[in-house]
Symmetry: C2
Subunit: 183 residues, 2 copies
DNA sequence: ATTGAAGTGGAATCCTGATTCCGATTCTAG
DNA sequence: CTAGAATCGGAATCAGGATTCCACTTCAAT
């Protein structure tokens, strides 16, 4: 039913939006996204009712990918590693993608919209990894989910901001994770 | 020379702006600031050429306070504690004050405006505390300033965002700081 | 090849604030 | 107490962007 060119354009918009929103965050202009997609603003709006909707589409997709990865790690049989790997993945993934801040914020609380479900999933995924890691003695037992989420958020936000000299981010993260290990 | 009432109004504006910008960040409206100050927008503009200027005035003042505290801690003769205390102070101070994000960002890099000098001072202050703490064996020797700044920024940003259940922030920060201690 | 529905481009419109302007009000020096 | 300067207040002006509209293309089913 859907016209082939329409589908193609939708893709182009999505890709352009991902790039532009990633670089500039929510403050990016719809015009810019349209230009980069090689399309008129009107077309962008035909596919996504609003800037917010476009943004959500992108974030939702990305979070789904992360959730899939979390599931995979959970079943990897390496609980001691899985938690740290996922934590790192999220932070690295956030680096340079300003569009994530809100996603993380949402994961924290914010029962807004339908994304609430996704946020809950994310929390659960992290909680699972955390528990198993603690069970395996890889993470200090006094660390609870809320604290982990706060740290994850902080790390992600820091990673998104400014460009650090090579290695700084990795080392910072390493220190942070060390703080989560048993004494 | 300056009219007494003008001085008073300037103060009112400053106080109101501090409150409003603290709660809502840069997105706060000038109208709101004026209303809270019990003054017309025009008056706000008579004292501060632009929203940015008003914002800078506030941040600059606050950072100066922090610098003073840093100096005091440096001379306290408690290097083992000073570093952690200051780190904590900055984060706690940032909690709920959305206006700081940018200040911290600036402290990171951003040679913008005259604030560049202040940013440099802040970096130096932290560096001093860090070195002494390491000298005293309270902080792992492989932690360098850039990493510390990244962590400080992340922690501050996380603290500013959303409201966490009581204690979460403190515990998160405790874990983070544990990661900076020698093994 | 033909045609009406679906899709497109991008100028025009709307909205939301920041900033400007200026007549009305205080101050305060004399 | 009085005049002139310094301030005020807040309506009017501007500007930046999101969103809407619609005449004009493209599709693709027939």
């Amino acid at each position: 039913m859907a016209r082939s060119d329409a589908v193609r354009n939708r893709e182009k918009v999505l890709r352009a939006a991902e790039a532009v929103l990633g670089e500039q965050g929510l403050s990016a202009r719809m015009d810019e996204i349209a230009r980069r997609a090689g399309v008129g603003v009107g077309t962008v709006y035909r596919h996504f009712a609003t800037k917010e909707a476009l943004y959500q589409a992108i974030v939702t997709a990305r979070v789904d990918e992360l959730l899939a990865e979390a599931a995979q790690l959970r079943d990897s049989g390496e609980p001691r590693t899985a938690f740290f790997t996922f934590f790192t993945r999220v932070v690295v993934d956030a680096a340079g993608k300003k569009a994530y801040i809100d996603a993380l914020r949402t994961a924290g609380i914010d029962p807004k919209a339908g994304q609430a479900g996704q946020a809950a999933e994310m929390r659960k995924a992290i909680d699972d990894l955390l528990r198993e890691a603690q069970q395996a003695g890889a993470v200090r037992p006094d660390a609870a989910l809320p604290e982990i989420l706060a740290l994850l958020r902080g790390a992600s936000m820091a990673a998104e901001t400014g460009d650090y000299p090579a290695g700084v981010l990795d080392r910072s993260l390493a220190f942070l994770l060390d703080g989560l290990r048993p004494a």
